[in-house]
């Protein structure tokens, strides 16, 4: 069913009785060409692009809960391609370009809103680092814009310019950055994949891999065994647990990132703003809530919840740059489990087991990567070679030393 204003009009006049389910609820078949484990954003996007770009539709997506129940359903919805390193920036720029055409591509309004993202800086050294980054972005074909404090004062007069502990010296804009309605991304990809024949199987948990002689031939699930020529793991947040079933240890730790939303408010913020002298980033949703987050709690956890010190730290960061939000009330907090990788960058790679592929390690930046992650993973699965923008996202890079460490924090995942 194609969505349009006309369809809404017609349905509205006839009691909205004609709307059809957005996806089927199929039973799993005994065998597929490709089984994707994980019905989150990346898994669904992978299925969508496998079907649409590579013509592979004998594909199943296995989701242990409801589709979109992973981090696609619990993030702060920011999209951007403001990365520094060659291993990352072209990939994220590809992602941003895919976001820009996504809705027309899959006929679903995910409310891609390029409202801009601004990284504030508060010292000369930070400015130098952002200049380096902004130039890297432009060299990679992305957009970037450096603003000084006066420009920011004109554009965002509510920031604390006069009484700040760490004065705002300027910021790096990416005007094409912004936000997206996160759930709609999962739904749009699911709808697009489903309509092309992909089976999306909810409430189907993978309980083991069928690995013989170094080859993975399928999976065991709560709904029976499923054979597959290729098994594609895409379960960020649960990567450790799932890959342990294949006997693999990963360069990943699981951590929780909390996020928050305030009560709905009339428009306050034009775009996304991040604080440079503390942990705080914020945007305003179409519904009016200020959506914000900060640092991860910092300890290994699979519990999708965090603790108070980080909540307070994030609020302090918020009040430090925009003290006019003091009377806005925090309405709801949530926690998502992150695959924190050892250099802060992800993996889209084959494993040492034939037929078993791995996509994970997105840290707290997986949402923005959803389209490119799906696209590049589909490319890898279809062609058995990495997409040109994802060649460095290898599992063996810690052995070779070809690190992709944007923050320069080294092998301590909770610092990335």
């Amino acid at each position: 069913m194609r969505y349009s204003a006309f369809r809404i009009l017609r349905e509205g006049l006839t009691g909205n009785k004609g709307w059809k389910p957005v996806w089927r609820e199929p039973d799993p078949k005994p065998e597929y060409d490709i089984v994707i484990i994980g019905g989150g954003g990346h898994g669904l996007a992978t299925a969508y692009y496998l079907a649409k770009e590579f013509g592979l539709t004998n594909v199943a997506v296995l989701e242990k809960g409801w589709l979109g129940s992973g981090n696609i359903g619990r993030n702060t919805t920011i999209i951007r391609s403001n990365y520094l390193l060659p291993g990352n920036e072209p990939f994220y720029e590809l992602s941003l370009k895919l976001w820009e055409g996504l809705e027309q591509d899959f006929n679903y309004n995910a409310m891609v809103s390029q409202r801009s993202i601004l990284n504030l800086f508060h010292s000369d050294a930070q400015r130098d680092a952002y200049v380096r980054r902004g130039n890297a972005m432009i060299l990679a074909g992305a957009d970037a814009e450096l603003a000084d404090a006066d420009q920011l004062r004109a554009e965002l007069p509510f920031l604390d310019f006069d009484n700040a502990r760490f004065p705002i010296k300027g910021g790096l804009f990416q005007r094409r950055g912004g936000t997206v309605r996160h759930d709609a991304v999962a739904w749009g990809y699911a709808r697009g994949a489903d309509s092309r024949g992909v089976d999306i199987i909810q409430n189907c948990e993978v309980t083991g891999f069928d690995i013989e002689n170094g080859t993975c031939a399928g999976v065991q699930t709560s709904r029976g065994a499923i054979r597959a020529r290729k098994v594609a793991v895409c379960v960020a947040g649960s990567s450790g647990r799932v890959m342990a079933q294949a006997g693999m240890r990963l360069p990943i730790e699981s951590h929780v990132l909390q996020a928050f939303v305030t009560e709905g408010l009339k428009p306050v913020l034009p775009g996304v703003v991040t604080f440079g002298a503390g942990h705080f980033y914020v945007s305003q949703s179409d519904k009016g809530g200020l959506v914000f987050g900060g640092d991860i709690d910092g300890y290994n956890t699979y519990a999708q919840r965090g603790n108070l010190p980080v909540v307070e730290d994030v609020a302090e960061g918020g009040m430090a740059i925009m003290p006019m939000i003091g009377r806005a009330r925090l309405l709801r907090s949530w926690g998502g489990v992150m695959d924190m990788s050892m250099d802060g960058s992800p993996f889209i790679d084959k494993t040492h087991i034939n037929g078993l592929y791995f996509n994970g390690g997105w840290c707290y930046g997986g949402f923005k990567a959803t389209p490119a992650s799906g696209f590049c993973y589909a490319h890898l699965l279809a062609r058995d070679e990495p997409h040109p923008t994802a060649t460095q996202m290898r599992l063996d890079r810690f052995m070779t030393g070809n690190l992709i460490d944007e923050k320069g924090q080294g092998n301590q995942p909770n610092l990335h």
């Binding site: 450790g240 647990r241 342990a244 240890r249 990963l250 360069p251 990943i252 730790e253 699981s254 910092g298 300890y299 290994n300 956890t301 699979y302 519990a303 603790n307 010190p309 050892m342 810690f398 052995m399 092998n411 301590q412 995942p413 909770n414």
Partner: protein
């Protein structure tokens, strides 16, 4: 969270800094034949269990001791806390 410090009693986890898996105590032998691979595994691979996890916490706003805390990563329940120095010795780091 509250960490029951073996010497000082219950303390808010906010006084501590987290490092990671207590396996970081088991630093490999730099002269071993496979030292590079061993240091790779030591530095980069993690069990990352969903369940009890032995992990290193540093009491930075306290007595500056490193602790090995056994904590369940699914419930956050803490079942044991030891001084990392004792653990290191028991794992043969006295040499």
């Amino acid at each position: 969270m509250i960490i029951p410090h073996p010497l000082l009693g219950p303390r808010d986890a906010a006084e501590f800094v987290y490092l990671g898996d207590a396996a970081l105590i088991d630093r490999p032998d730099w002269q071993a034949e496979d030292a590079l691979a061993a240091f790779h595994d030591y530095g980069y691979l993690r069990d990352n269990p969903a369940g009890p996890h032995k992990e290193l916490w540093y009491h930075e706003q306290g007595d500056r001791s490193w602790l090995v805390v056994t904590r369940d990563t699914t419930t956050h329940e803490i079942t044991a806390v030891e001084l990392a120095r004792d653990v290191a010795r028991s794992r043969g780091r006295s040499a």
